[in-house]
């Protein structure tokens, strides 16, 4: 502009803005405005993670300490969420329970995603194996996942590790189906054909071209697996086939509160609220991620 005026052209008269000036928002605010569910879900989840990490500093006592003299106290200033039938502090148990739920949710999401991706890649790339592998996955998927996890738990000793393995086993066939679908459609894409034509080897194509493109659906799917794994863990513990009763998981607290729930509903109520809020947070995060990464994914998952 300045060059134009110095070379002698008449400056255009300054006109008022036809459109109102665009609102100036910081980048952070723009993100919040565009993806409210990601921000809301993410914040809630972050709070839960902080609770899990800081559990010993949040005014808790030993969640396994028995105090038979102080059984089934109502919530009060001393016992925020009351005490259970063995006199344990429900508040401390619920706060420590956050750890178990998050560990189970995150581990299952990670293990099922990795295992499912591996099987999906093999099935999508090695045609001879495809038919067989997918029939096996179809078979596993036709066993309702809670029943599959229950069946596996019936084989082993109750422990957090076994619960994670059992739930992962029930979840991974769905991931493999998803990844196989993505791989099959990616294989036909021009950029993969170009890579093949220019002599790139199959392992390199998988690492450089296929895997990065599976990340978006995989991530969205992982959040939903995480949410469903936390519910499944609680359900397993609730019917007595989950984590050992000594471990303060939300499912266990509710399972122990069951006998008394008509007279002392708070023992079931508090872990239930924590479970619902955490699962809601992860689900919102997943919904937001799905819409942000690829709206078309909404149909595939």
């Amino acid at each position: 502009m300045s060059t134009a005026t110095t070379t002698g052209y008449a400056a255009a008269p300054v006109l008022g803005d036809v459109l109102p000036p665009a609102k100036q928002r910081g980048r952070a605010m723009t993100f919040v405005h565009r993806h409210p569910t990601i921000v809301f879900g993410g914040t809630l989840l972050l709070i839960m993670i902080m609770i899990a990490i800081l559990a010993p500093y949040l005014g808790t006592v030993d969640p396994t300490a028995l105090a038979p003299a102080k059984r089934t106290r109502e919530p009060s200033a001393l016992y925020w969420f009351g005490t259970d039938m063995l006199g344990r502090d429900v508040y401390s148990r619920v706060i420590y329970g956050t750890r178990i739920s998050l560990i189970v949710g995150f581990s299952v999401a990670a293990i099922a995603s990795v295992a499912g991706t591996f099987i999906g890649l093999i099935s999508g790339y090695i045609r001879i194996l495809d038919a067989i592998v997918m029939r096996v996955m179809d078979g596993l998927m036709s066993i309702p996942s809670i029943l599959l996890a229950i069946a596996l738990m019936a084989l082993t000793r109750a422990s957090v590790q076994n619960v994670v393995i059992a739930i992962s086993f029930a979840e991974f066939p769905r991931v493999s189906r998803l990844i196989r679908g993505v791989v099959l459609s990616l294989r036909e894409q021009p950029f993969v054909e170009a890579a093949t034509a220019s002599g790139t080897r199959v392992p390199m194509i998988i690492i450089k071209h296929i895997l990065p493109n599976t990340l978006a659906p995989l991530m969205v799917n992982a959040t939903f697996i995480c949410a469903s794994a936390m519910i499944t863990e609680a359900a397993l513990s609730f019917i007595g086939a989950g984590t050992p009763p000594i471990i303060p998981s939300w499912g266990n607290i509710m399972a122990e509160g069951r006998a008394l729930w008509q007279v002392k509903p708070y023992i079931v109520f508090f872990p239930a609220v924590f479970l619902c809020v955490t699962v809601l947070a992860v689900n919102l995060l997943g919904d937001g991620l799905r819409d942000a990464l690829d709206p078309r994914l909404a149909k595939r998952i």
Binding site: S142, L147, I150, A151, A235
Partner: protein
């Protein structure tokens, strides 16, 4: 069509074989040696060996699998370790409550979810739409046993409108039966309602943007007829697909719901069997549930042509 149906039915065989193989491996991998348990503490190693041979436990894995499969196909699901009753007999005794719960839940969910989904799509962007979407996220986030306890606390304990727990067979009268089933049905139905309402809304949104819907509107077909005749019929295929897949969710949920409301169905049977490590019963129930699931999805696949004559095989 017949050729497709035949092919589709044949395709379920490998799937059921995988299920059967998994279920059989379960017993094979189960800790504890059945021969040693039957022989008792006083038995010599020779005795245990003899019993093992008489039970056929010393033969190769695949031979035993084949024989077991043969028995299953003749309706023999084995004998419970705990009660010594045939598993098929135990399942038959417990099937009525579970079947009632599932049929009622599916009916309830369809009646509630499909109008909700249609309404949300029609009033896209309105508070109704947002409300339905929120209900859907909520439905996925609240486990069935939590909803069950909240409902029982409010409607049974506080308001005293409905019984807290239990089951009355339909032969004792329809109203007592329904009174006991209302809370379990609603508790189990919520997640199903969420699933169905979401898919109904999504498919309806797509269908409503089609040319033939615009044509129908333009020639003056009334709103209700456009929504429920023109649009919903065309949205039926994805909805019944999700309905079929959702049955797995329903089966898992039924196991938990029966524990919450003390309903003596297959779910209770499963939970009791796990606590007692009664493997033949666990196997029987898993086989049955998976078979039902595969069957439902087979029927759904075959129904496609009925709902959408454009689909041809």
């Amino acid at each position: 069509m017949l050729a497709y149906a035949a092919r589709r039915i044949l395709a379920t065989i490998p799937v059921m074989l995988v299920v059967a193989f998994f279920v059989f491996s379960l017993l094979y991998l189960a800790p504890g040696d059945p021969a040693a348990i039957i022989a008792g503490d006083q038995a010599s190693p020779e005795d245990v060996e003899r019993i093992r041979a008489s039970l056929g436990l010393d033969r190769p894995f695949l031979v035993r699998f084949g024989e077991w499969l043969w028995q299953i196909m003749h309706g023999n699901l084995g004998t419970s370790i705990f009660t010594n009753l045939p598993v098929s007999h135990m399942i038959a005794q417990r099937i009525e409550p579970t079947l009632s719960l599932m049929v009622l839940t599916i009916t309830f969910s369809i009646v509630v979810a499909i109008p909700l989904g249609v309404l949300a799509a029609w009033k896209h962007g309105s508070w109704i739409d947002r409300g339905v979407m929120m209900l859907a996220v909520f439905g996925f986030s609240v486990p069935v046993f939590v909803i069950g306890y909240v409902l029982a606390y409010v409607f049974a304990l506080q308001l005293d409108w409905l019984p807290v727990q239990g089951f009355t067979p339909i032969s004792d009268g329809v109203w007592p039966f329904l009174r006991h089933m209302i809370l379990p049905t609603v508790a189990l139905g919520l997640v199903f309602v969420a699933l169905l309402a979401r898919i109904t809304r999504a498919t309806m949104l797509e269908v409503l943007s089609q040319d033939y819907v615009r044509t129908a509107k333009a020639k003056g077909v009334d709103q209700r007829s456009v929504l429920f005749v023109h649009a919903l019929k065309n949205a039926a295929v994805p909805i019944i697909t999700v309905l079929g897949i959702g049955v797995a969710l329903l089966i898992g949920g039924a196991v938990i719901t029966e524990s919450v409301f003390a309903i003596p169905g297959l779910g209770r049977l499963t939970v009791d069997a796990i606590l007692r490590r009664d493997y033949p019963v666990i196997q029987g129930v898993i086989l049955l549930f998976s078979f039902v699931y595969v069957l439902v999805n087979l029927v759904v696949d075959l129904l496609y042509t009925l709902f959408d004559p454009r689909i041809r095989y």
